[in-house]
């Protein structure tokens, strides 16, 4: 069955098909449509789950993690400020080793206050222990939720998963989405049978106890890291099985025109669609362009990334985030993935799309030109913020209004 669905509605469909038991919720733009859709289905009786509205994201993530620890299937969703408000509990829930699946609808962080997408919110959580899957399309959002439960509930992993989509650009954009048949979903994602972390009256178990002294703490923390690294192989197994059943294949990275690419753009999430269009345009001009979209960000698929780009000449990482005082976060991660290669491409850094700022086709052209120039001269330009002349003029006008010129 194919329907026109927003990213939010696609997420709700993923949750409905996954037969989730408990939904602690709290509204926040641009995520709210997900929980509204689920609330409606539960009230209409087409979905059997317990839906509760909590008083904040902090209590919501806490309740979600705790419910997950009792051995039921749990879902929740948030965005931006909400993710950060519940941040403390992300580390805690990951430490509980429970298979919670959560959607984050990316939105830039305060302050200044805004509503539109960039990735500082989701990347702030990259070290928490949550696995991360970043989506480009509405179809991918639905499919990734099903994959996420399989991954999280696998006893070689047992870590929570965050599925990410861009606010507005994907959350409120309708695309044709294939809604999988429930029989196929049940084949792929059987009911959750907790083996490790769950509450049972006859077998009392203490969760989240103190582990004072370094050795015990270190042991548990590193166990989490190893489990996350295990998740790379498990992901390949699970996504392979998903591909066989549903005919849609999702690798850890998604390459576009990568076979003979010389200049490669690295991106994540929905702006990659614009990036792919820019690759086609560059190809038409005779540039051997390609795009590598990072889909699984935690665990970091280092070998897959290295394999895809090490033989190219130039790679431009387009970060829609900024680690203030350092620069693009993904640029640093890609750099470290390439460090040990004897032959490696020139690596350029661009920061763009902050606070949902558009990235125009001219800006993509600018990036490809910069890569070609770098290849020709052997020199890598300093990291740059994408900002058009017109945008600069507009900003100057605003500064003038504020008397700050």
């Amino acid at each position: 069955m194919k329907e026109m669905l927003t990213g939010n509605a696609a997420a709700a469909w993923g949750v409905r098909l996954a037969d989730v038991d408990y939904l602690p919720t709290y509204p926040i733009t641009p995520q709210t449509e997900i929980i509204e859709t689920l609330a409606r289905w539960i009230c209409d009786g087409v979905m059997d789950a317990t839906f509760v509205t909590l008083d904040s994201e902090h209590s919501m993530i806490t309740a979600a993690g705790a419910a997950s620890a009792t051995g039921v299937r749990v879902f929740t969703a948030t965005s931006s400020q909400g993710l950060l408000y519940g941040f403390e509990m992300l580390y805690t829930v990951a430490g509980w080793r429970v298979p919670l699946v959560m959607v984050n609808v990316s939105r830039a962080l305060s302050s200044p206050i805004t509503l539109e997408a960039d990735h500082n919110d989701i990347l702030a959580t990259r070290d928490s222990g949550f696995l991360q899957i970043h989506c480009e399309t509405c179809q991918e959002v639905l499919d990734s939720i099903l994959i996420a439960y399989r991954l999280a509930e696998d006893k070689r992993v047992l870590l929570p998963v965050l599925v990410n989509m861009d606010g507005f650009l994907l959350s409120f954009t309708r695309e044709p989405v294939e809604i999988p048949d429930i029989k196929d979903v049940k084949r792929f994602l059987p009911p959750y049978q907790p083996e490790h972390a769950f509450f049972k009256a006859s077998q009392p178990m203490a969760q989240g106890v103190a582990a004072l002294g370094g050795p015990v703490y270190s042991y548990f923390k590193y166990q989490m890291h190893l489990a996350s690294m295990n998740a790379l192989d498990v992901y390949k197994e699970v996504s392979g099985e998903f591909g066989k059943i549903f005919g849609r294949k999702y690798d850890t990275v998604d390459g576009c025109m990568m076979d003979d690419a010389v200049c490669v753009l690295v991106m994540t999430n929905s702006f990659s669609t614009l990036g792919k269009a820019a690759v086609m345009k560059a190809r038409a001009k005779g540039i051997k362009a390609g795009l590598l979209r990072l889909r699984v960000l935690r665990p970091f698929p280092e070998a897959d990334i290295r394999g895809a780009i090490k033989m190219t000449r130039a790679v431009a990482v387009l970060d829609q985030n900024v680690s203030v005082g350092k620069g693009g976060i993904l640029y640093s991660e890609i750099s470290s993935a390439l460090y040990h290669e004897k032959e490696r491409p020139l690596l350029l850094s661009f920061i763009g799309g902050l606070g949902g700022k558009n990235i125009s086709s001219e800006e993509f052209e600018f990036i490809f030109d910069a890569m070609i120039h770098a290849v020709d001269t052997g020199k890598v330009p300093a990291p740059r913020l994408l900002y058009t002349e017109e945008e600069w003029k507009q900003m100057e006008g605003l500064k003038k209004m504020a008397g700050k010129q």
Binding site: T25, Y26, P27, I28, T29, T32, I35, E36, A39, R40, C43, D44, F51, T53, D55, S56, E57, Q81, Y85, S110, I113
Partner: protein, 252 residues
Amino acid sequence: MNQNTSFKRYLKMDLLPTPWCPGCGNGIVLKTICQAFDELNLPKNGTVVVSGIGCSGRSAGYFDLDSVHTAHGRAIPVAEGIKYAIDALNVIVASGDGDLLGIGGNHLLHAIRRNTNITVVCYANETYGMTGGQVSPTTPHNIKTLTTPNGNPDYPLDVQFLFKHSGCYFARSTVYHLNHLKKCIVEALKFQGFSFVEARTMCIVNYGRRLGYKNSNEMLLHYKEFYKINDDAGELAPNEIGIIKTNTLIKS
């Protein structure tokens, strides 16, 4: 009717109209706060307004005063931080019931406990209006919202009871009862200690119309017919508005 327009000096008139929907009561609260400022002739260089997140959170920027528009639920600690740093300032929080009583509820409890000398004007519309009309901590039982399509299973928080025996000031009014609302705010501003005004205001677009109100005026007339003024009560009945008189602090 008071035709005095000198309250406008507290507003950035060139920013009007506000971003609120037609029929929203928030503008009335905003204006009434300014009228209360005007009545007390609060100095513009000695008054600060703080808002949290939500429709009413947009208030802060419309005052021609120093203002802060802060994170969801955090208006009270921001206001307390300012007040404790510079005691001479008049610090006013203008924010919504979802913000102040839900995600920021803990801060309210402790501002009451500390009896911090600030004034809170709470735009109480019983819903999360900015996100489109979901159930909030003050939505009445059984009311249908976007996240409770079968009716709210929970009961609303009656904020007056948080103030019982606190030694703080509590008043409730509505956007229909303009003079009363202004009086409640003026008394709150004059109060030495923590003061809280619950200003009942209507959200027709994301709340009232789903309750069956045809327009904003119907909601306003409901306030007129439903609420009775009782400025001498120790406790307000659901259909009463007024200033709680016997709010004495019980010391052990």
